[in-house]
Symmetry: C2
Subunit: 534 residues, 2 copies
C-alpha cells in the first residue's frame, strides 16, 4: 500500500480540493462578519506557513494562540501544524500569571493574539521572554499598539502574509511529531500540558466522523460553540474540512441570542458545545418563542447532562441531543451517544467509539469483575489518549497501558457510560464513601436549581460531612426544601446536614463548577450555610 | 499519545467487548442456519489462531480461503490476520488452473475450504505442493473426504479447534505487515496480487464508517451480498464489528428470493453488493409484490449504475440506493455517494472520502487543467491504494505517487465522479477515439436490454470499428433497432455498423462483462453479427 502520513494538513487540502467553495463563516455577537471558502482558507494558511518559516520558525517550535473561534484562528492552526510547528492554544479566561506559566514551560516563540485580547497579552508578555514574534490575528495595522519594553516584533496577520507569505510543502514530516499543545483546565490540580500528535489528531478525526459519533457530513452546517482553545475545539476544526462541512465560527460571544441568530441565519444543522451554552439558547428560545427549523442535532460535552435537561433542550431547540464525555487528555472525545438511539434507551454519555477502550477498577487499580452495573474508577486506552504529560518524565498509564481519568463511572449492560463524579470529590463519612455526584443529580433535576454542588466539610465526629450548595432561580427559594428530594433515594446518612445558597456558582475557565474554590470559600467563611437537622 | 497499532484484530476485540451479544447470522439459500455473537466469534477466532500456531504457522505465512460468506470464513479471516498471517481469499468461480497459479505464487501453507468446494479444492491441490494443511470450514468430520495422494493433512475446523485451540495474544506486530492478499479479477490482464496491510485495512474501515460513506451503525443490520473473496468483502467484515452492526452472511446463494427472505427475516437495514444482485432482488419483488419494510439503504458497487436503474431499484426495493466505485487495488472503496444527497443531485459514483485523492490526466500522464467536466484517465492516491503488485519489483505509481486505475472518468463541478469506461476498451477509428462506454450507457437504458457491450473489430479502412453486442429480454427483439437510440446522441461515425445478439453475455468471475472473451469470440466467429448500413 502507498505511503500516507496521517497528518492534519491533509484535512484542509481535501476540503480545498473537493469542497473548494464550501463556506467558513465568522460572526461577532451573532452577526456574520466574514466569509471565506476552504480553498481560500487553505491558500492563506499555507502561505502563512511560509511567513512563519521566513520568521525563522522550524519544525517543533511552539506557536501560542490566544484567540476566539475565528477564521484567522483556523488559519494559524493549520499554518503552524501544516509545517510541523506546535499550535499551543491558550484559554483567554485564565489569569495572566497562569498563561505566562504555560507559555514559559512551552517556550513559545510566537504568540498569535486576537485584537481584543491585546491588553491581556501585554500583561502576559511582561513575564514571557521566549516570545519573539507577536501576530495580531484580526486587527488593522493601525490598531496595533506597541508592547511596551518587550523585545518581540509585532505583526498584523494580513500584513505579515502580504510581506512574507509564500507557498510551502505541508506534511513533510513523520506523523508522530507533535501538532498541538493544550493545558488541562486545572480544576483538579495544577495545569498540565497535553501534546497531540498529527497521528492522534488524524485518528481522532476519523473517529468523530463515524455515523455513530459526531457524524457530520458535506450536507451539514456546523456551529462550533466550543472554543478552539478547549482541546482542539473537540476536534471540529479538523473534522469539518475532512467532511466538507460548512463551518460557522461564533467569535467571542456565545450567548443565547447570538447563537440563536447564527443558527437561523446560516442554516445550522449541527451545533456543538457545553451544556451551559445550550441552556442559554433554550432560555432564549423560551423567552422569545423563536424556533430553529434547520437545527437537527446538538452535541453536548464537558460535563454530565441530566435526562431532564436533555429533554428540556430537545423540546426547546427542536433538535436531537447527543451527549458525550471527554477530557483534554483524550483529544478530547471519549464516548458519544449515537444520534439514532431507540426512544427507550438511556444514552448516558454514550458508548466508546472504535479506537477507545474503557475499563473500571477499584481504588487500588484492580480490574472490577464484572464490568457492568458497578461503580468504579474509569481508565481509558486508545490512539488519542495521553501517555504522559508535557515535559514530565513519568508516564501516567497503569500496567495494562490505561490512563486513569480520575472519574468514577458505571457502564450499563448495553455498554453505555455514566460518569458518576470525580474520585477526588468523594466524601468519606464515618469510614464510608458518599458520592456527591449522586446527590447533585437528584437535586439538579429540580426545576428551580440552576447549579448544584456537594462538597465535604471537616467534621470532628464523622471525619467529613456533605454540604449542599445551590444556585437557584424562580420564586420558591428555600434551598433546605431541596433536601426532601433525597429522602428514600439515597441513604439517610448521605443527606447533607448543611445547605447554602450562592448568588453565582463559581465556574472554572473550562465552564465546570470550581469545587476547589467552593471548598476554600466554605472553609474561610465566605459561604454561609444553614444547618438542617442532624 | 499512547502507542496504538492500527491492526484489524482490534475491530473484533471491540465488538466482543462492547457489542458482545450482537449477532452474526449465517444463511443457506435465504434461511438462517446458524447464529453466533461477536463475543463467541472472537473467542473462537482467537483460539483458532492458537491452533494455527500449533500447526507451525508463523507471522507472514499465507492462509488461502476458498469459501462463501459464512461465520467460519469470518473466523478464519480474523484467526489468520490476528496472529500476523496473511489471509489470501480465493474466488471459487475461477478455474482450478487459475487458483493453483495464485496459490503457488503465494506459496500458501494452509487452505481453508468450504465443504461444498472440496471437489474444486481437490483439483486445485493436485497442482499445489506448498499446501501443508487443509481446513474444512463447515463439515462434520465424517464428511471429510481424503485428498488423494496430496501430502496435506486435512482438518475439520471445529475438530481442529477442539484439538489445538488456545488463546493467543493478537496484534503483537507492526501495523504495516500484510494482513490480506487478493488477486485482481483478470478481466483486464493476467491476475495480479494485491497485498493489504493491517494499517491500510484499518484506515479503510474508518473511512467506510463515516457518515458520508457506508455509515453503518450499531442500530443497523447489514446484509453482506458481496462475497468475502472480493477485495475484503468491501471491508465490511471489518466495518461491521467496528461499528457493532449485526452482520447477515448469505452463504453461497445470493439470488433474489433468498436475499428477499433474509432481509425480511433478519430485519436488514443496509444491504451491499453488485448491481446484478440487487437487480435480481428487484425482479423478485416485482414478480411477487413483496416489500422490505426494514431496508433503508442499498450500497451498489462493482460497475457503474445508470440513473434509470437506480430509480428502478429505489422504487422496487423501497430503499435509498448509494452508488460507489472501487477496485481491488483500492481495498476496494474509492468513492461513494452520500446517503442524504439532495433530490436534484446526480450522485454518479460519489465523491472521494477523506483519505483518497483523485486526479485526471491525459493519455501521456499530464494532469488535466481544469480537472472538472473533462474526460481523463483516472489516477488515485491514498492510504489504502496499492503501491506495487505482489511479488513484482516495480511500483505502479506515477511521479506524483498516483496509481493509474485504467479507468476513464469525469468529475463534475461538485466533485462527483463518473466512470466512463476502461482506457483499454477505447476504440481507435480513423485516428480518433470512440468510447464504448458512452454507447453502452445509451443502449443500456432501453428496457429490453439486459447487458450491452461495445467492442472494437479490426477494420482495413478505419483501423477499428465498433460492434454492438447485446443480451435482450422481452418480445421486441430486433437489436438493430437499438442503433436508432444513438442517433443525435453520439457522432454518426461512432454508431456501430455491426450488431450481434447473444443468449448470455459472458461474465468474468467478478460479475463484470468479459470483453476479452467477447473479442476472442467475435474474432473466431462464435458471435455472428449483422451488418447495418455503413
Amino acid at each position: 500500500m502507498q505511503p500516507y502520513g496521517l497528518t492534519v494538513d491533509k484535512f484542509l487540502d481535501h476540503a480545498a480540493k473537493w469542497f473548494q467553495d464550501c463556506e467558513v463563516v465568522e460572526a461577532e455577537a451573532g452577526r456574520a462578519v466574514k466569509r471565506t471558502s476552504y480553498a481560500v482558507l487553505r491558500d492563506r494558511a499555507n502561505r502563512l506557513s511560509g511567513a512563519l518559516a521566513a520568521l525563522g520558525m522550524v519544525q517543533g517550535d511552539r506557536v501560542g494562540t490566544l484567540a476566539w473561534n475565528t477564521i484567522h484562528h483556523v488559519e494559524i492552526y493549520y499554518a503552524a501544524m501544516g509545517m510541523g510547528l506546535v499550535c499551543h492554544t491558550l484559554n483567554p479566561r485564565l489569569t495572566a500569571a497562569h498563561l505566562a506559566a504555560m507559555i514559559n514551560e512551552a517556550e513559545n516563540r510566537v504568540l498569535a493574539v486576537a485584537a481584543d485580547l491585546l491588553p491581556l497579552a501585554r500583561e502576559v508578555l511582561a513575564h514571557c521572554p521566549s516570545i519573539e514574534q507577536v501576530i495580531i490575528l484580526d486587527a488593522l495595522v493601525a490598531d496595533v499598539q506597541p508592547l511596551g519594553s518587550h523585545r518581540a516584533r509585532i505583526w498584523d496577520q494580513d500584513a505579515l502574509l502580504a510581506a512574507h507569505g509564500a507557498p510551502v510543502a505541508w506534511g513533510a514530516f513523520d506523523e508522530n511529531i507533535p501538532a498541538g499543545l493544550c493545558y488541562t483546565s486545572g480544576t483538579t490540580g495544577s495545569p498540565k500540558g497535553v501534546v497531540y500528535t498529527h497521528r492522534s489528531n488524524y485518528l481522532h478525526t476519523l473517529r468523530a466522523l463515524q455515523a455513530d459519533a459526531a457524524a457530520i457530513t458535506a450536507q451539514d452546517t456546523l456551529l462550533l460553540g466550543v472554543p478552539m482553545f478547549h482541546a482542539n475545539g473537540w476536534g471540529m476544526p479538523f473534522a469539518a474540512p475532512a467532511a466538507g462541512t460548512k463551518l460557522v465560527l461564533p467569535g467571542r460571544v456565545v450567548d443565547g441570542p447570538s447563537l440563536g441568530r447564527l443558527i437561523r441565519d446560516e442554516g445550522v444543522t449541527v451545533a456543538v458545545g457545553v451544556q451551559t451554552v445550550w441552556l442559554g439558547l433554550a432560555d432564549q428560545a423560551e423567552a422569545s418563542g423563536e424556533t430553529f427549523p434547520t437545527l437537527q442535532r446538538v452535541l453536548i460535552g464537558g460535563s454530565s447532562c441530566p435526562d431532564a435537561l436533555i429533554r428540556r433542550l430537545e423540546e426547546k431547540l427542536g433538535a436531537a441531543v447527543q451527549t458525550s464525555w471527554g477530557m483534554t487528555e483524550l483529544s478530547p472525545v471519549g464516548t458519544i451517544a449515537p444520534r439514532d438511539l431507540p426512544a427507550d434507551a438511556s444514552p448516558a454519555s454514550g458508548r466508546p467509539i472504535m479506537g477507545l477502550d474503557l475499563k473500571l477498577t477499584d481504588a487500588e487499580g484492580n480490574t472490577l469483575v464484572p464490568q457492568r452495573d458497578i461503580l468504579g474508577h474509569l481508565k481509558v486506552k486508545g490512539h488519542s489518549v495521553i501517555e504522559r504529560y508535557y515535559r514530565r518524565d513519568e508516564d501516567v498509564l497503569d500496567a495494562e497501558g490505561y490512563f486513569d481519568t480520575g472519574d468514577l463511572a458505571m457502564i450499563d449492560a448495553a455498554g453505555n457510560l455514566t460518569i458518576c463524579g470525580r474520585a477526588k470529590d468523594l466524601i468519606k463519612s464515618g469510614g464510608e464513601w458518599i458520592n456527591p455526584n449522586e446527590i447533585e443529580t437528584i437535586v439538579g433535576a429540580h426545576p428551580t436549581v440552576r447549579h448544584v454542588a456537594v462538597i465535604g466539610r471537616a467534621d470532628a465526629k464523622w471525619g467529613e460531612r456533605p454540604v449542599l450548595i445551590v444556585e437557584t432561580e424562580g420564586e420558591d427559594k428555600d434551598p433546605r426544601a431541596l433536601l426532601a428530594l433525597l429522602r428514600g433515594k439515597v441513604a439517610d446518612w448521605w443527606i447533607p446536614g448543611e445547605v447554602a445558597e450562592v448568588d453565582a456558582m463559581p465556574l472554572a475557565a473550562s465552564g465546570k463548577i470550581d469545587k476547589k474554590r467552593l471548598r476554600d470559600d466554605y472553609a474561610e467563611g465566605r459561604i454561609a450555610a444553614s444547618k438542617v437537622g442532624r
